[in-house]
Symmetry: C2
Subunit: 340 residues, 2 copies
DNA sequence: TTGTATGCGTTATCAC
DNA sequence: GTGATAACGCATACAA
């Protein structure tokens, strides 16, 4: 009896068939109250609870989704994961979480594993712009996959929820330009991600639209050999006419803030800094970073609700949603023209 | 054929029995190379991959663990979750993640759900000191549960991995006291968690051991009505003889830093601040918070490896490990006596 | 209203 | 070496 009891054990104890046990378990209407009572008693006595694995097998439904994130230690991912977890629990879905940026297994393989675990759908929070293997897998496989935050370059038939990153960059840039900044440095993440590609485009477009010259010396892509911190310190020391930094993520912005502090530059008096993502720490009064909001919560909720709709075929595919970004002005930028 | 193929489809195509398909799938030794070839071809052709749910049912093994965290938006949890996820994937375990601090479902219920999903073990990263319902569930249920970071008060038979929080507090306090601080404020989280209980104990013991009086006015427990920020500002304005703050978490420490900045106090010249947890942001050069390290990675690895040992009955129960905390001196405290 | 038989997609135990 | 056949723990069609 140390084993977990099953529905047959309950049936035997209650003096009914296993089918009847299943019936009371699933609240079927036409069960005689007295039998129901007996079964309930037996369930209680044995501490029986149905095995969800067996249930999944026969019902061909697992009530589980997969969530693939880039790196949980990155606040953006953990904060969105938190929101998605929360939404999922509301509709009684479990989530199997995996990291996609792993070095020894490709995103396609991770998705494959999830599919074999019979998840009903997958949210992918980080995908490279080009992934031919993945594109192939997506057409072959049967379950819905929704990209979140980042998407594939040629996403004709893929589902995604993103913010308008290009527009977000423009918002940030216009905020700086309106405050009188002319020399604006830009630090980007890896251009292989659509987010950074689009944000960079926005940076360049904003410059062009405001008749400011693009200067490659003011632009830097973080890489294993070069940090945003070092680049910023260099720039602050050698290019005193640079008065503002646009960071493609809040995390990068934090490094710039440190660079400023090390170079004895006051923020925002000497140099303005603006980020992108609006991770939680940015609103911390100690940091008070001006940034562009990705609207994490909204995006997360939309990702989950739309994935469920896709699972239940309640929506036409592909689902492609682009949210409006939002400028959040806090303490690391001056907004001269706004203080008139 | 739009349905997912199963082992019978493969068998039919290869002209063998389904049993044989299973054999090549599981790399059984005595399969004739030519048959194996045929089967592999059929598998390839159909794009067949075994259904892990069915496999789990018959093998009574899911290769899945449950991970219950407090709140993923809290860096400590996301960073440890990341480490655990990583360790799990190394040994090919999947993890179903759930939040335990939810308001409409108790921790016991969450664990129950996980058990019904047939996870093989559970890591619980946040538990209250007293939870009678849970204690009862733990004795009834059959799978190993390991507490991580926090544990129950009367944990005679429970498995846990924690750091020595009391000692950690003493390390922090001695660091401050050796630097000449006499009036040290303390801000704690909810005392219903063992972490905060132990840390508070450490604070008081350190005072006593150094012949410093305990002053209730310098101690504050964050609550819905009162923030660390407000309390700190009050103190900084009205008690100028308070020269140091010991925060029971790094997140609280960040608020204190802001309070200092708002009150025009320099850190560490005017006031020292020390935290607890060593979350990633603390090492950011912009923050450079002195803190006590929880040794997240170590704890995470230990939690997972020991959970697996418990699952495989390779270790005697209970597993109870207390790690040594580590003082990490960065820029928010002065260490006068160390600079001799 | 209840029970019997069957099947979900595998692995395990026998035979041959 | 290989193939029937019986589990695993449930839900469901069909009978009664």
């Amino acid at each position: 009896m140390s084993q977990r009891p099953n529905a047959y054990d309950v049936a035997k104890l209650a003096g009914v068939s296993q089918t009847t046990v299943s019936r009371v378990l699933n609240n079927f209407p036409h069960v005689r109250p007295t039998t129901k009572e007996k079964v309930l008693e037996a369930i209680e006595k044995l501490g029986f609870e149905p095995d969800e694995i067996a249930r999944s097998l026969v019902k061909k439904k697992t009530n589980t989704i997969g969530l693939i994130v880039g790196n949980l230690a990155n606040p953006f991912y953990s904060e969105t994961a938190q929101a998605i977890l929360n939404e999922a629990s509301k509709v009684d879905y479990d989530v199997i979480m995996m990291e996609g940026d792993s070095n020894n297994i490709s995103l396609s393989e991770v998705i494959g594993k999830l599919i074999n675990r019979r998840v009903e759908g997958v949210v992918v929070a980080s995908v490279k712009r080009n992934d031919d293997e993945l594109t192939k897998v997506l057409t072959e496989k049967s379950i819905p996959v929704i990209f979140f935050n980042r998407t594939l370059d040629h996403a004709v038939n893929t589902n995604y929820i993103v913010v308008d990153n290009l527009k977000g960059s423009k918002l940030a840039m216009e905020h700086l330009i309106q405050s009188g900044h002319k020399k604006i440095a830009y630090i980007t993440g890896w251009q292989g991600y659509s987010t950074f590609n689009d944000r960079f485009l926005g940076y360049k477009q904003a410059l062009a639209e405001n008749n400011l010259a693009y200067d490659g010396n003011l632009v830097f892509e973080v890489n294993p050999k070069g940090s945003a911190l070092d680049f910023s310190m260099d720039l602050l020391r050698n290019n005193p006419d640079v008065t503002a930094f646009f960071a493609s993520t809040d995390s990068i912005a934090l490094e710039i803030l440190e660079a400023a502090s090390r170079c004895n530059k006051r923020v925002p008096e000497d140099v303005s800094v603006i980020g992108f993502d609006n991770i939680n720490i940015s609103s911390n009064p100690y940091v008070k970073l001006t940034t562009v909001s990705q609207r994490k919560e909204e995006m997360s909720v939309l990702a989950l609700t739309n994935l469920l709709k896709l699972i239940n075929k309640e929506v036409e595919t592909p689902v492609q949603i682009t949210l409006e970004p939002e400028l959040i002005v806090r303490g690391t930028t001056t907004a001269k023209d706004r203080n008139l």
